[in-house]
């Protein structure tokens, strides 16, 4: 008989389609796992409202759990509480950094309209002499930065709180 803890372990084998170094557990999108007899319900939450990866994540969760012998799996989507970058695990942040994506920094309150962009260390040379190129990047969750010292352009996983 499979346990909820085992299900969580299986979910560690499902990767984010857009940032394939992170598992869905690292990313913090798994809200709960519920097991009633042999039926499993997984509740997930989107990072952004329009995140195009959610459908694929849902399918991959079902496929992975089916592969592990759990035949009845349902995936539900919830919006509240809204996902925050604080939910990315510490090991997830470390994996992002090693992959070349700067993990989210603590940021000033965004209600201040014209605050300076956050200081983000370069994931390559660690210099903090970097600049924001654009608030928006290759996916909804990232900004574009460049390092002024090693000149490497890099993605920053922007803070969402």
């Amino acid at each position: 008989m499979v346990t909820e803890k085992e299900i969580w372990n299986y979910l560690e084998e499902v990767f984010d389609p857009e940032i394939p170094v992170l598992t869905v557990v690292d990313l913090g999108v798994i809200r709960s796992v519920e097991l009633i007899e042999d039926k499993c319900k997984v509740v997930i939450t989107p990072t952004y409202s329009g995140c195009p990866a959610m459908k694929l994540i849902e399918e991959e969760i079902i496929a992975k759990l089916n592969e592990k012998g759990i035949s009845t799996v349902s995936v539900e989507l919830t919006l509240s509480p809204a996902w925050s970058t604080d939910w990315i695990t510490e090991s997830g942040k470390q994996k992002l950094l090693e992959y070349g994506i700067a993990p989210p920094q603590d940021e000033v309150d965004k209600s201040v309209l014209f605050a300076e962009p956050p200081k983000v260390p370069c994931p390559q040379c660690k210099s903090v002499n970097t600049r924001m190129v654009s608030l928006f990047g290759s996916t909804a969750c990232k900004s574009q930065y460049q390092c002024n010292d090693c000149l490497e352009p890099f993605d920053y996983f922007k803070c969402l709180k």
């Binding site: 952004y48 409202s49 965004k110």
Partner: protein
Amino acid sequence: MEKQKALYEYVLRLADDSLILGHRVSEWCGHGPILEEDIALTNLALDLIGQATSLLNYAGELEGKGRDGDALAFLRYEREYKNLLLVEQMNGDFGKTIMRQFLFDAFRKPLFEKLQHSTDQHLAAIAEKSLKETKYHLKHTSEWVIRLGDGTEESHIRIQESLDALWKYTNEIFYKDDVDSVLIAENIIPSSEEIKAEWTKTVNDVLEQATLTIPSNNWIQEGGRKGFHTEALGYLLAEMQYMQRAYPNMTW
């Protein structure tokens, strides 16, 4: 008007604002003035379409006639769309797109801040989620309005013209009818006066920094909330609905 009907109508209005503006902004995909802005605009469009999906699915549930978000998005006629006239206006140049987005974001941010405490939990959840995205949108568009307004002589003239062209549609943002009264009484939505005060403050602050002048012409144009639209919407729908009209019920 009964509460459920009013809530359906209200959620549909919010949904149509997101859907139509999201579609409009998506027209920039591959046409942005610089690569970073092309990406930024498509990010904005994606957030708006995502918000529209949540809102339209909820509207479908409230209506209770078996229509889902897709059916509401693609299979209604022009008069059944309840979006603001502001959001359906043509993109124009980059400055006009940014001005239209700014005038809208300055409304959406305080609205979602209030709606996240709505007594309707489903609407509150959508607002809580959307607010985080909208804060980034408002920051981005405010910065561009200032940069273009207080930029070169050419950019100043062009963005002032955009403001002049769009201003007559801004009063409709605070349109109020039975739908609103019923929901305000139930503490489901905030009063439009509260939102208007915050919108006015943001708009005045940013336009002042951008050295732009609020048009003195007070002519106002309304109709979107009742389904009466400008010429621009029909063309948008013709493109957006093409696949469902040509190949009914197709999926991919």
